[in-house]
Symmetry: C2
Subunit: 248 residues, 2 copies
Amino acid sequence: MEPRKTVPVVTDNSCPHRHNVNCGDCRMKALCLPLALELDEVEQLDRIIQRGRPYQRDEHIYRAGDAFHAVYAVRSGAIKTFAMTDQGVEQVTGFYLPGEIFGMDGIAHTHHISSALALETAAVCEIPFTRLEDLSIALPSLQRHFFQLMSREIINDQRLVALIGKNSADERLATLLISISTRNAKRNLSEQRFRLPMSRADIGNYLGLTVETVSRVFSRFQKQRLLKVDKKEIEILDLSGLQELANV
Amino acid sequence: MEPRKTVPVVTDNSCPHRHNVNCGDCRMKALCLPLALELDEVEQLDRIIQRGRPYQRDEHIYRAGDAFHAVYAVRSGAIKTFAMTDQGVEQVTGFYLPGEIFGMDGIAHTHHISSALALETAAVCEIPFTRLEDLSIALPSLQRHFFQLMSREIINDQRLVALIGKNSADERLATLLISISTRNAKRNLSEQRFRLPMSRADIGNYLGLTVETVSRVFSRFQKQRLLKVDKKEIEILDLSGLQELANV
DNA sequence: CAGCGTGATTGACGCACGTCATGGCGCCAA
DNA sequence: TTGGCGCCATGACGTGCGTCAATCACGCTG
């Protein structure tokens, strides 16, 4: 019943997409929960969180137009969020890795204005929003945590604006790669070697570039011995060189 | 004592920068307060809000590095927020008009990571954040309102990413002008004629363009009889034509 | 195994916008 | 008044990236 097609084998015997795991036992809790929560408070939060079966690649978690009723935390796999302009042009608004929260742009309205899609098999915690609001009143540190999460999302988006508005294709891609590398490190994965969960087209869309340009920059980075690229497998050969490009 | 240098004369006898006005009497309350608040709840909010003297043009409301302790509502005038990249390049992150809230990107940290500057004489309500958090626990509709405000900020930033990443200089400037026009209409000002509070350089910075390009696009729009431009005074001659360009 | 479709790469070419430089206008101070 | 400065406009020129098109590698299915 557990899909594991695109799933790397893990050393312990638990499947990374197991969905019957509570917050207290979740390997990601340090990333998505406020540190200040007491044990019994975590349990309270735990009780409102819903965990369905894992999503398969290309399955939607929600679609633009769906009624908004929850925000989501990634437990495994990877998610992309995207909006459609009224001319039907897709705009990728974010990539979300385990421990990260998505769907906060839906809070402003009764219906989602963007969509979320599993880029690979992914387990997701659903956090019903009205119940989160209620619980936030009882647990001030939870309220604060969510304000901070949303604020961080704003900062990220502003950084993306600056990146796209002021930087070259090389700098944009370098910055994305460094971002993924850093986020991997936070999850105790390799920051040098990883697999990109998204296509070249998604990368280009996200960074305001065409597929062709993304492809060319990857080739250029290989020639400059910054990277080793094998399809979606990335090995960073010169981390500091890449960081320099990324202005980080 | 009341500065009114750049201030247009208003028909009623109150100066738009008067700062001794409580929320209940504020002309902007429909824009920045939750509609659902009871009268006595507005008064509770009112008591925590601080209103200092108006800021003069080019005065900072806060600077990157300052301790974060409040978010702000514009009561009159106009504010720009901006960040510096570590190479000292400025990135304008937003323009805020009366009734709009700014400073929410500071919530994630103990210190501001961006700065806010008065583009013209401006009155501002300071909302101490820890007291807002406390009050949000007592007033659930206030909590919800702030979640929604932050969500809207996220959506705006995402739209800006799409605008800069996918649209031409003409489309970007048209979109900004339509945005300001629409926001003016919400404040019962003319949506056809208004004064831009920011410089060409700020516009270009915000939209990911150079000053020269902004200037050329303004000239082009005039030749196409979309606008009449006299320095910062803008008259929209063909609103629907501009909207078409702006994809709105 | 052939045949197809999807994603990625690479090349040739053109254009929108950046860069650099010049000049005008309004404002302020001396 | 004169000079200096900030802001804006406009022209000439160069280039980074988009566009169009061809090819390749692959996984899937019949």
